[in-house]
């Protein structure tokens, strides 16, 4: 019912928190549409994804996070930037930073899209790629971006050292399992498992932030489950299997990185 961009954004935020089913449900969900209509919907979803990625990455970039661009704006960019944005070097720094900060989110989103849709196709629950795209775009834009925002906050905030170490330790533990699975020799391992981090050192603020992180993970998983159930009409088992496939996305991502970078093979 909300009209206007601000109204729709507010309603979307409200739905993301209080009504995930309404948030991920594809409006006028029809499995068969014309090519023109399908392209229109892809374009609309691409805009939603792009806007959300920019909203996610811009504050990070402006705060200097993850920006490693020291070069001046390239020649082809200067006249375009001067005509539209003003200072070419600053605009180039900003755009390159946004691209860098959103790269991981974009890669994980693409991987999630593929694994999720393959799982739906394999379980014969898919009602069309557009519905999968809709589910992934909305889930990733809200909840996965939220998860990444909390992780970035933990990596930078001064009073959250234990929480940061705990999350890092968990990630390194996961990568170590992958190292072992692929038989990567210790000399070639980039990450080494340090001493376990004791949860007893967590402050109240840290436990609160970690609870928010857990809530966002639950929201993300639930939204993907709802996407399969509501948009594709999948059964409980198929939806759960699709969710499992999404859970395997990080495994595939790290496995691909290991194979690419070290030439590891599964042992």
């Amino acid at each position: 019912m909300a009209t206007g961009r601000v109204g729709r954004a507010t309603a979307g935020l409200f739905d993301a928190v209080f009504r995930p089913s309404r948030f991920v449900r594809a409006p006028n969900a029809a499995s068969r549409t014309s090519v023109r209509s399908a392209l229109g919907r892809v374009r609309g979803l691409a805009v939603v994804f792009f806007v959300n990625v920019v909203v996610y990455a811009t504050p990070l970039t402006l705060s200097g996070f993850g920006v490693a661009v020291d070069t001046d704006a390239p020649a082809w960019f200067v006249p375009v930037a001067e005509a539209t944005l003003g200072r070419p070097d600053a605009a180039w720094w900003l755009l390159a930073g946004i691209a860098q900060n959103s790269a991981f989110l974009t890669v994980i989103s693409a991987l999630t899209l593929v694994t999720y849709h393959v799982a739906l196709v394999v379980t014969r629950s898919s009602d069309g790629f557009l519905l999968t795209l809709h589910t992934v775009v909305y889930s990733v834009s809200a909840y996965l971006a939220g998860i990444f925002t909390v992780l970035v906050f933990l990596s930078r905030a001064p009073g959250f050292v234990t929480a940061r170490d705990l999350v890092l330790n968990l990630q390194v533990r996961f990568i170590s399992v992958m190292y072992d699975s692929f038989g990567v020799p210790p000399s070639q391992r980039v990450f080494t498992l340090g001493d376990p981090v004791s949860a007893s050192q967590l402050s109240s603020n840290e436990t609160a932030v970690l609870a928010v992180l857990c809530a966002l993970v639950l929201y993300f998983a639930y939204s993907m489950y709802l996407g399969a159930r509501l948009n594709h009409g999948a059964g409980v088992t198929s939806a759960a299997l699709s969710l499992l496939a999404v859970g395997l996305s990080p495994v595939l991502y790290v496995a691909a990185l290991l194979v690419y970078s070290i030439g590891g093979t599964l042992v």
């Binding site: 019912m1 209080f18 409006p27 006028n28 004791s198 436990t207 857990c214 809530a215």
Partner: protein
């Protein structure tokens, strides 16, 4: 809280049809709040029970801080769940279901804004009556009206938690063109 527990007939109540011409309503009713209130109570009680259990047993998950994380998570989920149901409750108190000789209409006001959706009876393709276990216990139900082919399209309207749903459905059914039935 001004809500009606039974559908009432108001032959002389003023209304407006889809084309804007004034018509009188055949049935005018409000949704009952009982299932939502029960759900709200259930969420709050369950949340508090789990939270209480965690606070009484702080080492349940090993370190106290680990239990604290879960307790915080329970608080977040309880607040979100209760907030959602509280809002639904508020909207339901402001909702009115109206059947006129030519249309079915759901209308509610929220934060000084009024929303109204109406489907012409002549264009209805199907009528659906659903009753969850909870709705059956309270003698209420959900009547769905569909004028399109997609349940989430604008051609879909639901009277949720409506008292005496059989009467609502039959009231509309009597006015359907023959081929619809």
């Amino acid at each position: 809280m001004s809500q009606h527990t039974n559908p009432r007939t108001e032959p002389n109540a003023a209304g407006a049809d889809t084309d804007g011409t004034p018509t009188s309503s055949v049935v005018e009713t409000n949704p009952t709040l009982k299932p939502t209130l029960l759900n709200l109570g259930g969420v709050v009680v369950a949340g508090l029970a789990v939270l209480g259990y965690l606070l009484v047993n702080p080492t349940l998950l090993g370190a106290v801080e680990r239990t604290e994380i879960v307790a915080n998570l329970v608080v977040i989920l309880t607040v979100v769940g209760a907030g959602r149901l509280a809002l639904k409750l508020y909207v339901l108190t402001k909702t009115r279901y109206v059947i006129t000789p030519n249309a079915v209409r759901r209308e509610y006001s929220l934060l000084y804004k009024t929303f109204s959706r109406e489907l012409p009876i002549a264009r209805l393709r199907s009528l659906e009556l659903r009753r969850s276990r909870l709705e059956a216990i309270f003698g209420i139900g959900t009547v769905a009206f569909l004028s399109g082919t997609i349940t989430q399209s604008p051609g879909h309207l639901e009277f949720v938690n409506v008292p005496d749903p059989d009467r609502v459905r039959s009231s509309v059914r009597r006015r359907l063109p023959d081929e619809t039935e």
